[in-house]
């Protein structure tokens, strides 16, 4: 069609009726043609699926590093003098190292093993933060569903989207190169002077820093794309407060990504300058200030904590509303709380520096930190209120949402003693902190991510997963997670510092419980992996709207067609108007509501 006159266009196509497009997953020809099609695609759905694959792969890689760390900690490292029988029958004394996983069998020093341990926890942190959790939800589920939920054909800048995928790949490759070269032992935060002095003769640290720098660009471009998409490409009839909450949270996330990520860009660039040219900005030997690096780093990395958690909160809002078939309680409060969290996130970075910054600023930051609790609590309250008298279907996504509520609340509440100056000085850099941020990042973000995957899996791939095995996996993950990390709160308060390869004997039992928990966690995730793979091949075909959702993605086919909608949708109802709208394409026979709920819907 060539006309620009919308009224004519409407008439024309209204008369022409539906023209049907094939699924976005349809093959375009031979194998290599299909590969090329995927590699050069500007379709946000394909990019979302590719991101998802990469993120999950890296998640397993980072998870393996974590398991290795936990295994090393199964026993404390001890150096013992033992008697060894020589071949000629004499007995001589020798040094033997016990409890060290990575030591060579004849090692006499713990240094080597400890260094490997340092590299492993850095690897775990860097991969999980920069390559998994930060891009995870926005780039995979966000990319896939943000435009569809807005009723758009694509994101605002599809080619930029492709570019940011390749930037992400490049960054990840830099990270992998650094790992292959032997890994980095600076911790994922790259604090100076670790990052400027260790491995001085190698470029591993520089490669890892550049990886984070490049990944930052990918994050910026994705965020920029999302902001413009939300501003410009909402379907007719969709005002700001008709947007699903997942869109709200992805939008807030995108704003943070745009505003915070450039600062880590310049920080890491200066760090590279520091390392290669010795400019001295972070080097006290030249009058620079290493704590300034912490300021620079956390100006980015604190808001990014909310880049990690906000999209997760969006997913939870969707899951809870859809699976309890009830309007979200306090929609506007939720939207404002989302924006509020994004705004406050820029004011509180100093609480990561309580032990190193000046007291005056620490006090201000401590006071500001408690502001975060308000919008967060509003959200948790609203989720619980939504559940109240809802027609709850205990599907796998819903189980994940309930786990989220439980785990995230623990994670959030344990943040309070860490935000209090006096208690933080006791708990700083202890296992309490480790447990706290794992409850938020993993109990929050990863749990919501996996929940979201289950929620949207039928839509993304047009296949149902096995509900029973989904639930088994969820329960295993929940148990494994709590076994691994709850005990670490206790370890932390008793004085176990983070990032140590060994510990006093009193902590042995608690460390062993934690390690066992991490194995259960692995089993849980493997169950999910096989369940997903199984569903791709043998899963029953998914209906367009298996859960009875009201947002626009449930109006499309499963999987959606190339352009998402055959015709541009006009939004006539809010995203959660369950009390007055019958969900489209919904057959309650597929997934029946709990008894008594049907009456409310018909």
């Amino acid at each position: 069609m060539t006309t620009l006159d919308p009224s004519k266009a409407a008439g024309l196509h209204g008369a022409a009726g539906h023209e049907h497009h094939g699924s976005y997953l349809e093959r375009k020809g031979s194998f290599w043609v299909t590969v090329w099609d995927w590699a050069t695609t500007v379709d946000h759905k394909k990019l979302g699926v590719m991101y998802m694959t990469a993120v999950l792969t890296l998640f397993f890689l980072g998870g393996l590093a974590a398991l290795a760390v936990r295994t090393e900690l199964f026993q404390p490292t001890r150096i013992a003098q033992v008697e060894v029988k020589n071949s000629d029958g004499t007995v001589s004394k020798a040094t033997k190292i016990t409890g060290q996983l990575f030591a060579a069998p004849d090692a006499t020093s713990v240094d080597k093993g400890n260094q490997i341990y340092n590299r492993l926890f850095t690897l775990h942190g860097a991969i999980m933060v920069f390559m998994v959790i930060v891009p995870g939800i926005p780039a995979s589920l966000g990319n896939f569903f943000l435009p569809i939920m807005l009723g758009a054909k694509d994101v605002a800048f599809p080619r930029l989207n492709l570019l940011s995928w390749y930037i992400y790949l490049t960054g990840s490759i830099f990270g992998v190169i650094s790992i292959i070269m032997g890994g980095v032992d600076t911790g994922w935060t790259f604090y100076t002077p670790y990052s400027t002095t260790t491995d001085a003769s190698y470029f591993r640290v520089v490669a890892m820093i550049l990886a984070a720098f490049i990944l930052g660009f990918s994050s910026i471009l994705t965020g920029l794309n999302f902001v413009v998409t939300v501003h410009k490409l909402r379907a007719p009839g969709m005002g700001w407060f008709d947007m699903p909450l997942f869109v709200w949270s992805t939008y807030s996330t995108a704003i943070i990504q745009v505003l915070a990520t450039p600062v880590i860009g310049i920080t890491l660039l200066l760090l590279v300058f520091e390392r290669v040219f010795r400019v001295g900005i972070f080097d006290p030997a030249l009058g620079g200030d290493p704590v300034l690096f912490q300021h620079f780093f956390w100006f980015y990395s604190h808001p990014v904590v909310y880049v990690m958690i906000l999209p997760a909160m969006g997913i939870i809002s969707e899951i809870i509303a859809v699976h309890s078939h009830k309007a979200i309680f306090g929609y506007r409060a939720m939207a404002y709380a989302t924006l509020g969290i994004a705004a406050v996130s820029f004011l509180v970075w100093g609480h990561h520096l309580f032990a190193s910054e000046g007291e005056l600023v620490a006090m201000v930051f401590s006071a500001l930190t408690f502001l975060v609790a308000i919008p967060t609590a509003v959200k948790v309250f609203n989720w619980v209120a939504t559940l109240y008298k809802g027609s709850i279907s205990l599907t796998t996504p819903m189980l994940y949402a309930l786990s989220f509520l439980f785990l995230f609340s623990i994670g959030g509440l344990t943040g309070l003693p860490l935000g209090t100056l006096a208690t933080d000085l006791h708990l700083h850099d202890s296992y309490f902190v480790v447990a706290h941020f794992h409850y938020v990042m993993m109990g929050g973000t990863i749990i919501a991510f996996v929940g979201g995957l289950h929620h949207w899996w039928p839509k993304m791939f047009g296949r149902m997963y096995n509900e029973l095995w989904g639930k088994v996996g969820c329960i295993l993950v929940f148990i494994g997670f709590n076994t691994t990390f709850f005990i670490q709160f206790i370890l932390g308060t008793q004085g176990m510092p983070r990032r140590y390869a060994s510990y006093v004997s009193e902590f042995t039992l608690m460390h062993q419980i934690s390690t066992v928990g991490s194995y259960i966690l692995l089993v849980g995730f493997l169950v999910h992996l096989f369940n997903f793979l199984h569903s791709l091949v043998l899963g029953p075909k998914a209906p367009p709207n298996p859960w009875g959702g009201l947002t626009l993605e449930w109006e499309t086919d499963s999987p959606p067609s190339e352009h998402n909608f055959d015709h541009e949708p006009i939004v006539k109802h809010g995203p959660y108007d369950y009390d007055r709208v019958v969900p489209p394409h919904w057959d309650p026979k597929d997934y029946p509501l709990p008894a008594g709920a049907a009456a409310r819907h018909h």
């Binding site: 266009a9 413009v228 745009v258 600062v263 660039l269 010795r278 009058g287 109006e555 055959d566």
Partner: protein, 263 residues
């Protein structure tokens, strides 16, 4: 579900080839109108500029913190710089910003020859800026070699050592104003001067990099303008390249007084 199809599938350009490219441009398929696309692209560019401002914020922050801690070193530092070169470069960038703005105006009015002239002049100004920075500012301070035409050269005793066929003259003791560990300028009076050079080189080199990126963007626009991509009804790329260029100017407007004038 009520449906309404105002978004079109397919190519952003009209099918029958008639008229110059810009007049046939409609919009990318996922927008409703060219107006909407223009607005969206501009919004995206402003967001990108926001990231650039925050990128430089790191450098400004480093400057501010160390100026506060070591005022004497920064005071000395700004006196090593020649405000005349800095001022000249400021004027160059301001003029180039003007020609860039003019080229957008020309494009909107369909004055294509003038547009190309203005674009080319803008690129020329950018190149001049980087050249002056490199030849007259970085090189002598770093190595002690002055370009033969440098007016500052006759203030100093020429050591007789030259390089590059006599184009560069060496002044003994002048060079070595380098950042951090490479600092070996023998006449510094403040112990923190290497730090000043660290900030100076980081800020100006990253800015110069942005000048180069801006030149590349404008160069691309210039090349495509020969093929008739831009005209009164479609000049998005000209506009956003212009925005980028103005931002580079904007940053320099702040860097110039901070580095050269404040004492």
């Amino acid at each position: 579900m009520t449906t309404l199809d105002v978004r079109q599938h397919g190519q952003p350009y009209d099918a029958p080839p008639s008229g110059p490219l810009w007049s046939r441009y409609k919009h990318a398929h996922h927008y409703r109108s060219a107006e909407e696309e223009f607005d969206a692209v501009k919004l995206g560019m402003w967001l990108f500029l926001a990231t650039e401002v925050l990128l430089f914020a790191g450098l400004f922050c480093a400057y501010a913190v160390f100026r506060m801690l070591y005022p004497q070193a920064f005071y000395n530092g700004s006196h090593y710089l020649d405000w005349k070169w800095g001022g000249f470069n400021t004027v160059i960038l301001l003029i180039s910003s003007y020609t860039m703005a003019m080229s957008i105006r020309n494009c909107q009015r369909g004055e294509f020859r003038r547009m190309r002239l203005n674009l080319a002049f803008t690129i020329f100004c950018g190149a001049l800026f980087v050249l002056i920075k490199l030849v007259f500012e970085y090189t002598p301070k770093w190595s002690g070699y002055f370009f033969v035409l440098d007016p500052a050269l006759h203030h100093y005793a020429d050591s007789g050592k030259t390089a590059l066929f006599g184009l560069f003259h060496y002044v003994d003791g002048y060079g070595g104003k380098r950042p951090g560990m490479w600092f070996n300028y023998a006449f510094a009076s403040d112990p923190y001067e290497p730090l000043w050079w660290g900030v100076y080189y980081s800020a100006t080199s990253i800015h110069a990099l942005h000048v180069l990126i801006g030149m590349t963007l404008i160069g691309r626009v210039l090349l495509r303008s020969f093929k008739g991509h831009y005209g009164p009804s479609h000049y998005t790329a000209v506009e956003i390249s212009g925005l980028y260029w103005h931002l580079v100017d904007l940053i320099w407007i702040f860097l110039f007084p901070l580095l050269y004038l404040i004492h």
